[in-house]
């Protein structure tokens, strides 16, 4: 096939490659309407979020909250922050005139530390086979990071669109790493590396780590 013919092939792709039929709009809407508007649970909670996951998220929130409490510099304690970690995390819950810079600094520290850990995990993922023990170690670390990822996605840190987009991609990758089990490592690792490559995740992580540390 010569160049001209190939150009023609490219031009014809919209007609020749998986040309879609008319979408069954009403049929699809029926399912969507039923799932979303007729099921209160699906409105208030993302699908797949089990009660166990909610419990884990709450536990992790506590850990992050304690971490932020530790990192907030002495003498810059936020007045009226209350006992809940989210009261510390969210600027909106602070009284007017409160010093929010300590919260901001603490949050940046936590995010920066998390990004560093995520980068370290992805860099250390083996390219091919690994032992079952190694898989279990990676899976465990990924599961821990996954909880933090989801918390950060619902936190003020995710107001930065670039960071939010990175967190969403990291969530997908970490879900796959967390499922790593011995025996099927090669296929799973290939898929994980593909996901990392598709989202340009590592270079975005490096940029984010640099940005967070320099702020």
């Amino acid at each position: 096939m010569d160049e001209n013919r190939f150009d023609e092939v490219l031009r014809d792709l919209p007609q020749s490659f998986h040309n879609p039929p008319e979408p069954p709009l009403d049929e699809m809407w029926g399912v969507i309407e039923d799932a979303h508007f007729n099921s209160p649970a699906s409105v208030s909670r993302p699908r797949g979020m089990s009660s166990r996951a909610s419990w884990l998220a709450a536990a992790a929130a506590l850990v992050i909250g304690i971490g932020i409490g530790r990192y907030a510099p002495l003498g810059r304690t936020v007045e009226g922050a209350g006992a809940s970690p989210f009261a510390v995390v969210s600027n909106e819950s602070l009284p007017p005139g409160a010093d929010t810079s300590a919260v901001g600094d603490a949050y940046r520290d936590q995010t920066s530390r998390y990004l560093g850990q995520a980068a370290a995990l992805l860099i250390s993922l083996p390219a091919k086979d690994s032992s079952s023990n190694a898989d279990a170690t990676f899976a465990g670390k990924a599961a821990d990071l996954l909880v933090t990822t989801r918390l950060l996605m619902d936190s003020p840190a995710a107001q930065d669109p670039k960071l939010r987009s990175l967190l969403e991609d990291l969530e997908l990758v970490l879900v796959q790493v967390a499922r790593l089990r011995g025996g099927k490592s090669k296929e799973d690792l290939d898929l994980i590396h593909q996901a990392v490559e598709q989202g340009d995740v590592l270079s975005r992580l490096n940029t984010a780590v640099t940005t967070q540390s320099s702020e």
């Binding site: 020749s16 998986h18 399912v31 993302p46 987009s165 969403e168 997908l172 099927k184 593909q194």
Partner: protein, 175 residues
């Protein structure tokens, strides 16, 4: 009522607003899902999942990007995850089963359309998604970059590499 107002109404539980928002985007979402999956039934399921997920996460939509960008990001993610699961499943098919499939497969020279479909399927996920979105569905590089969360330059280089691989795979085809 504009899109922002519709979104607020959907969050409040207004199903008519939901339908209006759906009507604004469903055709394009379905079209992309079909191009990426090549199967009408899957495209339908992916479109449904996209809107169900999008509606349930609407309170988290902050409007940093356009709603359509956010929505298309969800459909691309859903299709990619499904494809990865399919690939994983296919690799788990035993050699014996694979052999029997091979034996019963019809032996015929594939036509150009079939060769193109196969060549596009052989592209890596990142290349394939970029080629389908740009050359087939007509998204701009800026749109694709926003949806995939990568820089525009990455998007352009992926498209160029995808076309080169496609050209290479089709080079041997004789009509």
């Amino acid at each position: 009522m504009n899109e922002t107002q519709l979104i607020a109404q959907v969050i409040a539980g207004d199903r008519l607003a939901g339908r209006a928002l759906y009507d604004m985007h469903a055709s394009r979402v379905y079209s992309l899902a079909y191009r990426l999956s090549g199967d009408a039934e899957k495209a339908r399921e992916f479109t449904q999942d996209t809107f169900i997920r999008a509606f349930s996460r609407l309170p988290q939509f902050r409007g940093d990007a356009a709603f359509s960008t956010w929505l298309h990001r969800i459909v691309v993610t859903i299709v990619s995850n499904a494809r990865r699961s399919e690939i994983r499943f296919a690799r788990e098919v035993s050699l014996e089963e694979a052999h029997s499939i091979e034996v019963t497969a019809p032996e015929a020279d594939p036509d150009l359309k079939e060769c193109i479909a196969r060549a596009v399927e052989n592209l890596s996920d990142a290349y394939r998604t970029t080629l389908i979105m740009h050359d087939i569905e007509g998204y701009t590089h800026a749109e694709i970059a926003g949806i995939l969360g990568v820089p525009e330059g990455t998007c352009k280089s992926r498209l160029s590499a995808a076309r080169a691989q496609l050209r290479n795979d089709l080079a041997a085809f004789k009509e």
